[in-house]
Amino acid sequence: MNFLKKILAESGKLFDEGKPLSFAYPLWEATDTILFSTDSQNKSGPHIRDNMDIKRTMFFVVIALIPCYLFGAYNIGYLYSEAMGISSSVMNDFIIGMTYVLPILIITFIAGAICEISFAIIRKHEINEGFLVSCALIPLTMPPDVPLWQVFMGTSFGIIIGKEIFGGVGTNVFNPALTARAFMYFAFPTKISGDKVWAVGPDGYSGATALAIPANPVEYDTASNLFAASTQFDYSLTNMFWGLIPGSIGETNKLLILLGAIFLIYCGIASWRIMVSCVFGLVFTSVLFNLLSYLTVDGILQSGGTPNAMLTITPLQHILIGSFLFGTVFMATEPVTSSHTNTGRWIYGFLIGVLTVIIRSINPAYPEGVFLAILIMNMFAPLIDYYVVQSNIKMRLNRNV
């Protein structure tokens, strides 16, 4: 170990100011502090410091995501075997899935590292560990058969436009991982729009996703009945909870997402307020819509057009369908782009829940509403904070009169 330390210390001199390699100092700093914890000293102010740092914070989020990766890989293999009509072992399924997940993961990290490191060098800031989380999140939001060049494009766009042009971690407005996802959604709609099923299978293999079923019903019925009538995949509540359904790589198993949420809340890293209020918002709006659908179909507000089956999705179905939980736990809680005040966090989360249902149900052209809802609320988070802080200012003014 001492040998390695010595090499690092010696090589570090090459990166000092005025030396030929000084431009790459952030790269050396990152390597150095990943291998050995920093020996930076408390200078003034508190002479002692907590053992939590950004490296560990970000690393913990990545830990919370690992189970989603493992299950995602297995699920791809499982659905593949089902579609091909072959019986296969769990291990075999997992390996098949990994052949799809690993390339996406590697390409994401290559693209992310190139962007982050070059910006760190150009802008002369430290390489922030936050990019690890962004890069760990992006593959989980991808369909398994997404072309790798699109992943590269999407990741670069997410990191650069979502984060770096605003000044890097800490000053970004939009969640970089979701920016990447949104870019791909609108740039390559044939691969990633989300109405057709995302599973690997024989050529031309396709089907309807859970959200697409009530969005485009052959004949109007309630969402529950439509799900029950769907034969290609098992869209029952239990199966949607356990996640053996097609979807983005990381979002299908809800149990693992909930475990991740508990882990992050327990460690004090992710905001439970945002998670809880997201669910509140979703339940509130979906109950409202259920009521509305009841009134329009059977009740007094009978309208002329075709009734919207999306309005009949129950709150529990909304929670389990699609990426709502994944987005709530891992995306909405991103600390920089969410609200920075506790009151703000409640409002921010609630509105994400509300917008998710609105985008899903009222405008079925975008079956998956979560990522758009979060991005929209990312945009409004500073505004929410502004009003929360203004109320504090007003309170202080009144107190001082």
């Binding site: 102010g45 410091r49 004090g268």
Partner: protein
């Protein structure tokens, strides 16, 4: 009686708390008075090197406010005057002569009936610097009319002196000090205590007792004021350090200046952490020498959160009552950020397995690199005031005067946010930001 229950905050479980016996230090042959301990003053010396002085004699005055003079904190000779950049006076070192010191019977009880009497008495005795003010945490201006006066006898900072123990024998002088402090304000005189301590104070009908419960920073005057009587931009509140009450009390009742007080020496690498019967500006060497288990020590005048880094040959700050010593560590552990936990890791986050249980040996390690600020509700966990500290820090960094005032910069001081810096995963020095904001608004006024 007012009661405050503070929930947000954290008592740092640091090793090396002083035990309950009072020792005598090795000879305090030199003591020091440093103008650097006082903010926003321009000191002008009234003495030269080798002058002989008596306790309480004027040593220097503030050019900006010439009526405020600083007292000699020892009888003897001025052995050395240390200058800093541009010949600013950094430190005045006294050689203590015990012979003259004991011959200190000048005073006589004087009838002080109103504010002017008390102010003039303190100014005349050169004792005014004991009175400080909020906002800005500086020496008070005698011509101000404070909204209230507050004294906190509930010390919650890590490894700080326990006033219930150190001031146990000072009942009469504390009461004498409080009686006269009350004359300084038309408002209230708040005295903060922990439940069950200083019970005799409840007999004094002229003070308002504030019972404080909860973790640090519950005992800070800034936090208490925020709960009971928040400071606005026009308000000024005066305050006195708890350990200075007996000194003021004796001055009022007997007319003598007695600079002795009980301080503590504590910290993880102190062999025998204990209390000492010491004095203002005492030399650190006389307490620390031979009492540290390693040479790589950072000796701090004050507590580990807000104290000032000093050296073996340094001195206790004017307002400080404790010496804390921690190890200067440069240890680099392999892949430290992956460490599972155990007794070697301390965190207010549940990020390590089985930590925080036994008293932890903190070192000077920052435990992480400085990074851009990521708001994961860390500051808010330990900041018990109704101020959006995050928004305030931003307005300070943006140099937005108006917003700083609106968000309550006047209610904060560095010590109130020290825990925020302690917990911050990005290793931001929040105290420095708040001080920058206070300086900005101070010089703008």
């Amino acid at each position: 009686m007012l009661k405050i229950k503070v929930k947000k905050g954290h008592n740092i479980n640091i090793a090396g708390a002083a035990s309950g016996e009072i020792l005598a230090p090795q000879k305090n042959t030199t003591v020091s008075l440093s103008p650097e301990n006082f903010r926003y003053i321009k000191p002008k010396l009234l003495v030269k090197e080798n002058d002989s002085v008596k306790l309480g004699d004027p040593i220097f005055f503030d050019k900006l406010n010439p009526e405020i003079k600083w007292p000699a904190i020892a009888s003897g000779t001025i052995s050395k005057i240390i200058y800093g950049e541009r010949r600013a006076v950094k430190e005045i070192i006294f050689n203590v002569d015990p012979q003259i010191e004991n011959d200190n019977s000048s005073g006589k009880d004087k009838k002080l009936s109103n504010k002017d009497d008390v102010v003039n008495y303190l100014l005349e005795k050169n004792m005014w610097p004991f009175i400080t003010q909020r906002p800005f945490n500086k020496v008070a201006n005698p011509s101000d009319n404070p909204k209230s006066i507050i004294v906190s006898l509930a010390n919650t900072a890590p490894l700080s002196v326990d006033y219930n123990f150190t001031l146990a024998s000072n009942k009469d002088s504390i009461i004498s000090a409080l009686i006269n402090l009350k004359k300084l304000t038309e408002g209230k005189l708040f005295v903060a205590v922990r439940p069950g301590e200083f019970n005799y104070l409840s007999d004094l009908d002229f003070i308002d007792i504030v019972e404080v419960e909860g973790p640090h920073p519950a005992g800070n005057v800034g936090v208490i004021l925020n709960h009971i009587s928040p400071i606005s931009s026009k308000d000024i509140v005066w305050t006195v350090q708890g350990h200075h009450l007996p000194i003021l009390g004796k001055l009022f009742s007997d007319g003598i200046f007695d600079p002795t007080m009980i301080i503590n020496l504590s910290g993880p690498i102190v062999k025998n952490p204990s209390y000492f019967k010491s004095r203002i500006g005492a030399s650190l060497e006389s307490h620390c020498k031979g009492n540290l288990s390693t040479d790589k020590a950072r000796i701090i005048s004050g507590d580990v959160l807000t104290g000032k880094e000093s050296m073996m040959n340094g001195y206790l700050g004017f307002y400080h009552s404790s010496i804390s010593v921690i190890e200067e560590s440069f240890d680099r552990s392999f892949i430290g950020w992956l460490h599972p936990g155990g007794s070697s890791k301390y965190s207010v986050f549940n990020a390590y397995l089985g930590g925080n249980k036994s008293p932890y040996s903190f070192t000077t390690l920052q435990n992480g690199s400085h990074r851009a600020f990521v708001p994961i509700e860390a500051w808010e966990k330990v900041f018990p005031m109704d101020i959006y500290i995050n928004a305030l820090a931003r307005s300070i960094e943006a140099n937005d005067f108006e917003e700083m005032e609106q968000l309550g910069i006047y209610e904060c001081d560095e010590e109130d946010v020290a825990l925020c810096s302690f917990v911050c995963p990005s290793k931001t020095d929040v105290g420095a930001i708040i001080r920058k904001g206070l300086d900005t608004v101070y010089f703008d006024k």
